[in-house]
Subunit: 249 residues, 2 copies
């Protein structure tokens, strides 16, 4: 059976930033919540996988903001799986205003890891067999390895961050949204005050843990495009790579 998750959220004050627009971390938190609920309907929730010795890992996430909702606005958030492959499951998100205007959409790619081996495994049969809904129009498939992953990265700014208690989830990993908070907080003052993110494309490379020290790096690619990288300070291992696209607000 196929399930489309549809949740309605009315924006709370703390979900908006200093400019009054919904913050991307707040939106990503809601997307994560709706995805969890959808996965539970499919019998592939965090607890279902945990019982079998598996866990979900987000690998790719690309969010496009067409129009930012504001405090008090009611949004409808829809999410559903679109494609199931040997190693990857693709999931789309759409965010609509009350009048049906498309505010945002996002594509994502998830993989499954074995808790015991701490490594990626082919999707177990109970996941591979699921039926994505057929009455939806999937977003273009995200490339596993986007082009910004291979361009040279020369950081113009590096900020150290220590992973705190409130950034880790029940798996004892840093949650996916915390990285986006750090990456946004490393962007320069003028950009944050006068511009807004039109698109953010993320590649999750490796996990990190409580008390890890991370370097949050930013580089300018073009006038409207920033590159971001978070690396483990000690090992230099890449944790996340991202490209953000900006427009006047």
């Amino acid at each position: 059976m196929a399930f489309i998750q549809t949740d309605t959220f009315t924006l709370r004050g703390y979900e908006c930033d200093a400019s009054g627009r919904m913050s991307l971390p707040a939106l990503m938190n809601l997307m994560q919540e709706s995805a969890n609920r959808n996965a539970i309907d499919y019998g592939i929730g965090i607890a279902d996988l945990g019982q079998k010795g598996f866990g979900w890992m987000l690998m790719r996430f690309c969010l496009r903001m067409h129009q930012y909702p504001r405090y008090g606005d009611t949004i409808q958030l829809m999410t559903y799986p679109t494609t199931v492959e040997k190693y990857f499951i693709h999931r789309d998100f759409r965010v609509l205003a009350e009048d049906g205007t498309l505010l945002a959409d996002a594509g994502s790619i998830w993989l499954v890891f074995s808790i015991e081996k701490r490594s990626m495994v082919p999707l177990p049969d109970f996941i591979r067999q699921l039926s994505p809904p057929t009455n939806v129009d999937p977003l273009p498939t995200l490339p596993l390895k986007p082009d910004f992953q291979i361009v040279p990265f020369i950081p113009s700014e590096t900020r150290p961050v220590e992973v705190g208690w409130l950034s880790i989830d029940q798996n004892q990993h840093v949650n996916n949204v915390a990285y986006v908070q750090w990456l946004i907080e490393s962007i320069n003052t003028d950009t944050l005050q006068t511009r807004e993110i039109a698109e953010i494309d993320l590649v999750y490379r490796t996990e990190s843990h409580w008390h890890d020290w991370l370097d949050v790096q930013t580089a300018t690619e073009t006038a409207d495009m920033l590159l971001h990288r978070i690396v483990q300070t000690e090992s230099g291992k890449e944790v996340i790579l991202a490209r953000s696209q900006w427009r006047e607000n």
Copy 2:
């Protein structure tokens, strides 16, 4: 007319910490949201005050956690003003489980500042005249200056924090909950993993702003009691003082 605000919230995944319990910052965010809604009903919302050249400032907040809700639990949050004085308005919060169990309660004291003068003013008449509900049982009145404000404070740990974009609100001040996040993240690993906060009592002393550097200090008062202080790094000015009380979890 008197108003009691009652909101029902079902806990989302990101509102719980690594131990699976609701995080205090998440609960305080919801309390703030319900207080805003209640203030709007009374005609004393942030926008109502802003139009008249005033703003709200939280001065005291004391939260007692009787039992922590967990992911998926539905809680009922009630808030209402209890007393209106020349300079201060008192507001209580109660959090109930679905079966009516009292999970948490909190008392708070708020003052009004003049945006132009950047200083405290007596409550304007349109606030002083409001009618708190009479059919509630107010919590004991919070002391304006609790005893831990006058004991010597010798920090055993100091952590620097820079105020980031996502910690400021639409008034361009650090939001009240961000301080509690920093204070929790400064607590030692063992305490965070094996214990839980039974009570946290906060004194807000002065505001801080985007890009300010703050020192987050912790001191041990007794085996079950920590003292916290956040000061502006440059001026040494006190931003917040707090005492937290802990129990085994």
